[in-house]
Symmetry: C2
């Protein structure tokens, strides 16, 4: 049977060159990079080469990269590290209502620890208004955390405008760039960010590794305490194979970014236009143009997104109703509710996220089958007026 | 040239069966286990099989296993999670002066956050006195954290006796078992622990993965917040290849433990006896019998352990002066100072930790070369009276 993977926002297949780069470090190059003998030296150097590959892809310096176990740890580290590292009285953070749970849940937790959080609203297409950021900053504000692009609806935020405001106010800016590194030109200096989270497995790298970019001079407490690894900023024996794979994936992302975007954009637009034309009562969630080049998120009235996904799965199409991280939850997506979608229609949404292996034939196959699936499900739905 | 790896306490070569188990999950089985379509289901099941393998090796239930990025994260989670999860007024933790930095540094950090820490002394062989634990418990005590065996000197603590005391007092017991799982029979019920940290790469598994065992009913805050993974106890996309490799490594550890210990013990004792006999002014650090089956730690008067290691490295022998995690530090080992070794002699110590691939010939080679290295270095040492 045909298999079409359209859930690249959840995770990506590991790039063959990444796999090949990693395998020697799983098999025979097993030394601990912090040890003093010669086999460790070679491994330490390989880790530093990876750090440079990661830094180069972000326009950063290698010393500004802290390897973490992934994007979630990077988000936790940025928020807890800044809040705990701030002077007394700096106890306020500003974020948005559509952040990934890796930011929102840390914020909720820090509220329990006595910190204050402002959750900014977004407009109907998921955009944050930079003026709202400006208005929310108080003398107590330590950090603003706004994601670069949303993982569900793909809306890209005006980070450059927000960073002008945070810099003027002397407040740190953290950006969760888990969805954008490899998809957009993510340059920490152009964006003007102080902290930025990256996850390898979202950009054809391995799971279990990512990084936090920390601009030189940023005051940040450690998050995982212990040994002296990562210049005492992140303890624990380095995940060497993961780091090697991540470095390679970042190098490939830098070299292939334009080509990937040029490949994805027409496929994305073909899929959006095709669905909206062929399926009545379907609507695009998120912004029509300020949007990730691989993200399609559509709501279908009268039916459940989960039923659509299960039916597509039978046809060999892997798509999702939203974030994999909250797939076990029965709650409607907090992102869709935030942009004003009703709980019923939020449940009727499906996300298709494209990747480098997808072809025009894949899109044709979806456009051929999806309308049939929707029609079949609607025919069974008590909510459907045409029934 | 000959290559003899004698630093298994720092990290171990990945077992060939572990490598083979992991590779399909790096190459083609890339799906996100939290997704709803069929390729994700298979991966989710593989993760749960690993969880069972890990639980079985510890005598635990699978629901009691939280996968972490390694032993350090597990230690951080246990300590911060218990302290933050405890009711108001329970703000005291008891630990020992010879814990790994992954415990000590968290304790130091929590002191900055307002918590109180008691650091118990140990005797000249590195043993904690359970009576000291009993005496230190107050109504404010939330947690006792004592390592199962020390990573530098190999001393095995009387955990069963300590757990009787903590249970009686209604205080949680956390044990860092990073050095013992795979080497000793680590059964959470026999030991009577509430929380236990494990690291895969210390037992022929991959780097970047480990777990925290949490006894059912233990009150523990999350440490990394975000998505609903690990029953909402540890957020972040699962490190699937790491988890698969860890599961396999734990299964092998369970099946091969006796055989490994029978292989290692005579080699360890041959090395200890051989060094002490052949090298004058050399002394064993740690306990002669309550000792990890693979640990040899010897201090050589008048010279530096680091010079010995570098000279051994030229001869193809990889050994270390102590913990790789603090190899960049110029401070003498806190463990050796705690057992009463002088700073000079602490600097003169070398740790040899054996593994399943070591042979009697390896030991003979060390015993042939080490005395020559020590003699050569002493001949150059201004401290050496025989010079």
């Amino acid at each position: 049977m045909r298999f079409i993977y359209l859930d690249h926002a959840a995770t990506t297949p590991t790039h063959p060159e990444v796999v090949e780069a990693m395998i020697p470090y799983i098999r025979e190059k097993f030394g601990n990079p912090s040890s003093i003998y010669s086999i460790a030296k070679e491994i330490r150097e390989a880790v530093e080469t990876s750090r440079k590959q990661v830094a180069d892809a972000l326009g950063a310096n290698p010393e500004e990269i802290i390897f973490t176990s992934g994007g979630t740890e990077a988000d936790n580290h940025a928020i807890e590290g800044v809040l705990y590292g701030s002077p007394q009285g700096k106890d306020h953070i500003i974020t948005t209502s559509i952040e990934h749970h890796a930011v929102l849940e840390v914020c909720h937790y820090m509220e329990k620890r006595g910190f204050k959080v402002t959750y900014l609203r977004v407009d109907g297409e998921g955009l944050v208004d930079p003026e709202e950021v400006r208005k929310s900053i108080t003398p107590r504000t330590a950090l603003v955390s706004v994601m670069h692009a949303n993982n569900e609806i793909g809306t890209i935020q005006p980070i450059e405008e927000i960073s002008k405001i945070t810099r003027e106010a002397g407040v740190y800016l953290h950006v969760d760039a888990v969805q954008t590194v490899g998809a957009l030109d993510v340059d920490v200096n152009n964006l003007g960010v102080d902290l930025l989270s990256v996850s390898a497995h979202k950009l054809y790298g391995p799971k279990g590794i990512g990084c936090l970019y920390v601009r030189k001079g940023t005051k940040l407490d450690s998050f995982i305490h212990g040994g002296a690894q990562e210049r005492k900023r992140r303890a624990g024996t380095e995940n060497v194979p993961g780091i090697i794979g991540f470095g390679k994936a970042m190098e490939l992302a830098r070299l292939e970014r334009k080509e990937r975007a040029e490949h994805l954009l027409p496929l994305r637009d073909k899929l959006i236009t095709g669905i909206l034309e062929r399926v009545p009562d379907s609507f695009l969630n998120g912004h029509p143009t300020l949007r990730l080049p691989n993200n399609v998120n559509v709501r279908f009235k009268y039916i459940e997104g989960e039923s659509i996904c299960l039916n597509l799965d039978f046809l060999g199409i892997a798509a999702s109703t939203g974030s994999a991280c909250s797939s076990e939850s029965l709650e409607p997506s907090h992102v869709l509710l935030s942009i004003g979608v009703s709980p019923e229609e939020a449940h009727g949404s499906v996300r298709f996220t494209l990747g480098r292996d997808n072809s025009e034939e894949d899109i044709d196959y979806v456009l051929e089958n999806l309308p049939v699936v929707v029609e079949k499900l609607r025919a069974m739905s008590p909510l459907y007026p045409g029934r």
